[in-house]
Each structure stands twice: as C-alpha cells, then as structure tokens.
Symmetry: C2
Subunit: 417 residues, 2 copies
C-alpha cells in the first residue's frame, strides 16, 4: 500500500468518526481531494468540504468549536443553504449529544473565565454590544431592537413586529400612567422610550454597554423624553429604589446561571407591594450550555436557561409566576429577517470588519435561525407579580383585543408631565 493510499484511509476513518459524532446528518462531508462520507438513503442537504488535514484533526477533538472557527476562517466551505444545513446538523447532533471530557473541561474553564462578576459582565457585554452601532444599524430595525419581535399576523413587517413586541410587553405588564418602571438591560433604549411615550410611565433603564447608553440618551433627547426616561450606565445588581414594574428583555441570557437568585433578590427588593414584572429571554427545553464556539466568538459568558432553571429567579422570593409564553417561531422569523438584511449589507460590513468576522456572524445568525426552527432554542416571556398584587387581569383576553395592533386610541404621553 502506498503512503498516499494509507493516508487516505486514515483520513477516511477520521472523517467517518466525525460523521458519526455529528449524529450522521444528511449532509455530504468531504476532506478536500482525499476522503468523503455521504448520507445513506437520503439526498445530502449540503456539501461540507474540510480544506485541510489540520482542521480534520481539530474537528475530531472539539466538533462544534472547530466547525465554527474553520467556517469563519475559510478552512471549511459549505455548498448549499447554510440555514438548512445547520438545521440538519442541530437535529442530528442533539440526538447523539455526548461531549467528551475535553470539551466538557474547556466548557467549564470558559464558564469560569467568562464568569459574570460585576467586572466580568461588563467585559462580556462590551465585547458584543459595543462593537459598532453602525454595524447593527445595517441589519436591525431603525429602533435597533435586538430581541425577538412579535408577529400578530404573517403580513407583519420586522419594523411593525418590533413595535408590536414593545406594545405586547407593555400590555402584559398592564402599565398605568405615572407608574415607576425599571428596565434592566435596556439595549438601545427602544422599550424604555416606548413605555414612556405611549404608556405615560417614568422609566429608569439600566445597561452596562456604554455605546448603547449613549445612543439611547440621544434618542431620548430627540424625542423630548429625557425627563421621563433615565438611561443609567450600571449593572442590574446596583439597581436601588422602588418600582411598580420590573422589565427585562434579553438580559437574562447574560446574567449567568449562578446569578439567577441574585437577580431575583434585586427584583424582590425593587418591586412595590403590588408590583408586576416581565422577563423575556432565550431559553432551552433542557439545561445545556451554549457551544464553546458561541461563547468564545459571539456571546461571552452567556447561558440560555431551561424554565426550571429560570424559576430560581422567582421561587426564593415573594413573587408569583402568572404567565409564560413561548415565542419560538417569532424568533425564527425575526432572525430570518435579520440574516437577510445582514446578507444584503455584505459590502458595508466588509468595510467595517474582517472576512473572518463577517463569516462568524453569518454563522451565528444562521445558526440562531436554525436553532429556533428545530427547537434547540426557545424564547420565553414570563409575567410575574407580587403575590399580593391585585392588578392581575381576570383573563388574558385583553392582550388580544383589536387595539393591540397600534390602534390604541389613548396615549398617555402627557398624562404625568
């Protein structure tokens, strides 16, 4: 047997091992010019080509992390629809999900290195949200709402769906003019401004991303809402004072599972005796960390909890869960639209960042679409209240009356000014 032949046989053996570790997905896997595996009895959804032997060996050690990095660096090329391929991969990997000791060790070390202490959280958040607001403006809606939208009908546009989401959150909270609201992890400020403008409440909005806070303050000024919305650059753990409603949209993923009780204690300390609140977050059906790739390249220190884990926020305190809604299909749709805009903005993005960055972010967005489609990711909205709160509606019908879709007659804009 020639040396080349022997090499090819080893390549083939490794490739097949990787293919089995990935749960034998319906994709064709190839090591460029050397070995290949095709799915049995099914047409491959995509053709994944590993460009060199180093990548092949690394995939053997940490499949998910190396797939991400190699795809970003062009050491893996994918022919076919990226989202469809990832749907297939997520479906098959989660079936045979057994991380080796090495991946588990890396995952644990990463969890420690990226722990969400006061300083650690700031570092984790800045690495994602302080990238460049102009970059996010290329593919988010004009208000820069970077969380799951809500589509009352299939004809709703992204812009409408984001406003519908803001309104849906306000309705779930049953905000009343003059009430004090805390918005923990306020992003670029759209929800805080919407609440003040349309529901007449006073908002203190917290965020540790400086870029986002500065942007939000400018918008508040432009809208003439600076006297009603305070954008505070601080950690949720430093929130003081009382509020009637506590809302947090898209922050729990960054709190870290070791801090749910802390978040609960802040809510407990802040909420008035009749207070209500809402948490909106990416969750899971089962407890499972994000891949090491996601935590290394995209969301540092992030964790999406299963509902059982999220209950640690509420159960140690005088808080009662009233309503949980899973909006998973809405986030799949939101992300599809972000991804499409992202692809359309290739030119501008390539002028801002390296090709590796662009490919990594394409993989992240496509992976999120796939995750919400196949159900490895969920989106939960939890409404809660003090046990003694009497402002609990008798049914949820009020959320679905006609006025919901921006046809509300009264706005409370000047009610308390």
């Amino acid at each position: 047997m020639s040396a080349q032949n022997k090499c090819s046989r080893i390549d083939q053996w490794i490739l097949e091992k990787i293919y089995r570790a990935a749960g034998q997905p319906s994709v064709r896997l190839e090591l460029r010019n050397s070995a290949e595996v095709s799915p049995r009895g099914a047409l491959p959804v995509a053709n994944i080509v590993i460009e060199d032997r180093k990548t092949l060996l690394r995939l053997l050690i940490d499949l998910e992390a190396e797939f991400g990095d190699a795809y970003s660096e062009g050491r893996i090329t994918l022919e076919g629809d990226l989202v469809s391929a990832l749907e297939i991969l997520y479906g098959s990997i989660s079936q045979g999900e057994h991380h080796g000791w090495y991946v588990k060790l890396v995952s644990k070390c990463m969890e420690y290195a990226q722990r969400n202490s006061l300083r650690g959280s700031r570092r984790n958040i800045q690495r994602h949200y302080d990238l460049n607001t102009a970059f996010y403006q290329l593919w988010l809606d004009p208000q820069l709402i970077y969380t799951c939208a809500y589509y009352p009908s299939s004809a709703t546009t992204l812009e409408q769906a984001q406003v519908a989401k803001l309104d849906y959150v306000c309705r779930k909270l049953r905000l009343q003019p003059g009430e004090q609201v805390v918005d923990a992890g306020c992003g670029w400020g759209a929800l805080a401004l919407h609440m003040a403008q349309n529901y007449g409440v006073i908002v203190r909005a917290f965020n540790i991303s400086r870029e986002q806070i500065l942007f939000a303050r400018r918008r508040a000024k432009e809208l003439g809402l600076s006297h009603r919305v305070a954008f505070i650059e601080d950690d949720y753990r430093n929130i003081s004072g009382e509020c009637d409603a506590f809302v947090s949209v898209g922050m729990l993923e960054h709190v870290g599972r070791e801090h749910y009780r802390d978040l609960g204690s802040i809510i407990h300390r802040s909420l008035s005796k009749t207070g209500r609140g809402l948490l909106h977050f990416v969750g899971r059906n089962h407890p499972l960390p994000f891949s090491t790739w996601t935590r290394k390249r995209i969301f540092h220190g992030a964790y999406a909890p299963a509902l059982g884990e999220a209950m640690q926020v509420f159960e140690p305190w005088d808080l009662s869960v009233l309503d949980v809604e899973n909006l998973r299909p809405h986030y799949a749709k939101t992300l599809e639209q972000w991804l499409a805009r992202f692809e359309k903005s290739q030119q501008e993005i390539s002028e801002m960042f390296t090709p590796e960055f662009t490919r990594a972010w394409r993989l992240y967005l496509a992976g999120a679409v796939a995750g919400f489609r196949v159900g490895t990711l969920q989106l939960f909205q939890i409404v809660f209240a003090r046990t003694a709160c009497q402002q609990i509606p008798w049914t949820r019908a009020h959320l679905y009356t006609k006025e919901q879709h921006g046809e509300r007659e009264t706005t409370w804009m000047h009610a308390t000014s």
Copy 2:
C-alpha cells in the same frame, strides 16, 4: 399565689407562645375561661377559642395539624368568618414559617407512609374520591367537575365556568376531529366526554378511583359516547399506545414529587411526533408540602409543586413548554361557590357523615378558598408539545375569539363515527 393562678399564668405563657408561632395574626386567641391574647393595634378578624388545656398543649407541638383536628372535633371554636380568619392565619403563618424538628419528622414519615407507589396511589385516591358520589353531587356542578373552573366574565355561573374550562382546555390543545387523546386522571369523566362530543376525538381516560370510573361509564352510555370514550380503571404508569394529545387535569397533585420524571416518561412514550399536551394542577410559588393535617385528613399523599419542580415532568424528555397560565383567582372563585353549596347542604351531609367529618371538610374548603385568595396556592395550566410539533398556533389570540363562550358553530360529534 394560688394553684389556679399559677396555672393561669402558665396557660397565658403557652397561649402567647402559640400566638407568636402563628406569626401574631389579627385574631383573638382564648383558652376557655383561662387566658387570652389579642392583636395589638388591630381589630381581631375572629375569636378563636381553645376549649381545653390538652388542645392547648398539642397546638404547641404541631400547630397546623392540631388546629385542623381540634376544629373538626369541636375542641376549637371559631367566632367570625372562617375564610377571613384562615386568610389572616395563612398570611401570618407563612411570614414566620419555621416548622420544628418534630413537625418535619412527622411530615417526612407521612410522605413515606403515603408514598405514591402503584398500590399506595390507589389507596390514597380511594380515600378521597371514592367517599360517596352522592356527597360530591351536593356541592359540585351537575357534571361533577372537581377542578378549577374558568370564568371568562364575572357573571359566569359555576356550571358555565366549568364548561368554559373544558372548552378552554380543548382549545389550548387545538384538538382536531379523529385525533387520539389520553386523559390521565379523568375524575368523573366530564372532560373526556366533552372532548369526544364537541371535538370529535377518540379518548382513552384513565383513573384509579373505581367510583368515578363507574359513574363516567354510565354517563358515556347515556350520552351515546361509549364507542368514542373508553374509561379505563388503571394507573397513569400503565398507559400504553400512542396519542396525539395527552391531557391531565387535577392529577399532578396526586403523582407525588418523586414521580414527575415517571409521568414525563409516560407522556414521552405516548405522544406522537406532533403531539401536544396539557397539565392542569394546584401549584405553589415555592416548594412546600401540604400541612400534615391536609395529608392526614383530606388529600393523602398529595403534593402541589412549584413550577420549577413541575418542569421535571418535561425537561428530561423531548417536550417543549409552550404556555403556562396561572388561574389562581379562578380557583378562589370556584371554591367559594363549592363552599357555599356545601354549607347549603348541611342537612344532607350530616345524614351521610359524622359532624367531625363535616367540620373537617368545611375547614378544607374554606382553607382552600383562603389559600387561593392570599396566594399560598396557585393553579397552573401548562401547554406543551413535541419539539417538532408544527400545530403550534402563531399567537394565543384564537383562545379569545368570540366563539370561546359556547358559541362555537361547528361541533364534531359525528365527524368520525
């Protein structure tokens, strides 16, 4: 100091100790002709009279259990509104909730003695549900629906609210004609019959209460639904075969917290790839067993889980939680109406049971009203589905369209017969 005087002083000391253990509620506490404690700076809501010293001493050892037994046996009398007094007591006891080692030990022993093995469950269930159907007919609605009703408006009667609940459950499940449904813990059969009659589904309904199964079979025959609804006298752990929807209303409380995973495995084994399900159960804001009195006299082996505990049903399996609704105010109202009917049926009940039994059941019903009012008890409906289920509605608006309140135009009665 005379012996009598000395005795009185000891009585007073014990009474005050009990009063503090109860969290200093706004009630007047008296040991007949000997000692008393009144709330400071507040008018007492009720006057609780302990009739003898033996009861006083027992209260010192196990407050909740002895209060229940002494009230039932007439060794404690209560002047004032029972529900209001219990609301005050629940509010104050839960604030200073510290069970001594003795109560904790009794509670643990009871948990073991009443464990929900196949045989244990049957014994536990029979002690409550096989009492006497005629008794339940005195104070439940005509269909004998012994779970929380759903009141779309405040004018809804108990009978209407129970039918509205059945319909609400069916709508949450999005039942389609011809589908196979498992009803685990079917009570006297009202839901199973409603689903078959109005949604055209085929139901297998399980229950280990013989009385209830016999009653349900008679009703199925009367309604001409025997070919569409099978009432099976068996444990949920013995459910086999596949179904499109798995529903369980008021059974999880009897499953026991050590068996949530087992229940989940049965659901996982039964549900088709596109299956959905609903659990409806009494829950808690925090993990906490029922009082030993409740478990000794009313619900043997019962446990009302916090949501975090209930997630153990779903999270080990391929199941996704879609919707959780807390219907606590609806159960307070349902129980108020049961209690009122119970009181009206004093004469008939006293002919069936001893005065002790009647008082114990009055205390149980009044205590449940109080518990749901003050929030020591919650009522959760959880909708779940297979992760791959595509029959998930885009929003929950369909639950609140006009046809909800019995105005549905189509019934599926003969769709599959």
